[in-house]
Subunit: 116 residues, 2 copies
């Protein structure tokens, strides 16, 4: 997957409505009407979001003219997760340091409690 | 972290230059000049990218007036990875199905080979 695909994936995910649509599609295929239902949004507004998701290859749409069900495509999410995974050691280091700090605080509290 | 923070994170990551800046910062703190070096970009253009990364809390900047080193902050990346992780079973299912298909193809090839 090229850098541009990765940019398209992240850009598509940078919207709470689009993320909610993807979450809904984890339950199974859905039509535009079904996807629009939980949002206080016009069909054209939902269609616009679907186009962004489709261009980023995060969803595919059925060929039937009347009912074009949307389906989740997880491959770009895997690529995005793979990119983020390169940074795992940085947030884990941070948590390690936080763990050390909390441990230190607890030790101090225990020392205080013993003095009382 | 609120939905808006998650949107800010994904929006900040939706640019190859900003991702390259984050990758550079995994090697350690760096000044704007150092970050600008590998890109064919003006300092104001790099500063603009740094502002996006700073607003998304993906970097922090030192307080020194002259040399304000940028530092990677991994916490938003962890949140983004956590969000993506909810979709892991979807891309793993896909790989399982691909695995089944390849296995089936291999079995057919073997069968053909035996007939020759």
């Amino acid at each position: 997957m090229s850098a541009d695909h990765l940019s398209a994936t992240f850009a598509a995910l940078a919207d709470p409505t689009r993320r909610a649509i993807l979450a809904r599609l984890t339950l199974g295929e859905a039509s535009v009407n079904e996807l629009a239902e939980p949002f206080d949004m016009s069909l054209p507004a939902v269609s616009k979001h679907l186009k962004v998701l489709e261009r980023a290859r995060l969803i595919s749409r059925g060929r039937e003219a009347q009912w074009r069900p949307c389906k989740l495509k997880a491959a770009p999410l895997k690529e995005a997760a793979g990119w983020l995974d390169e940074y795992r050691r940085f947030w884990e280091q941070r948590l390690d340091r936080l763990g050390d700090y909390l441990h230190e605080l607890q030790a101090k509290e225990k020392k205080k409690a013993r003095r009382k």
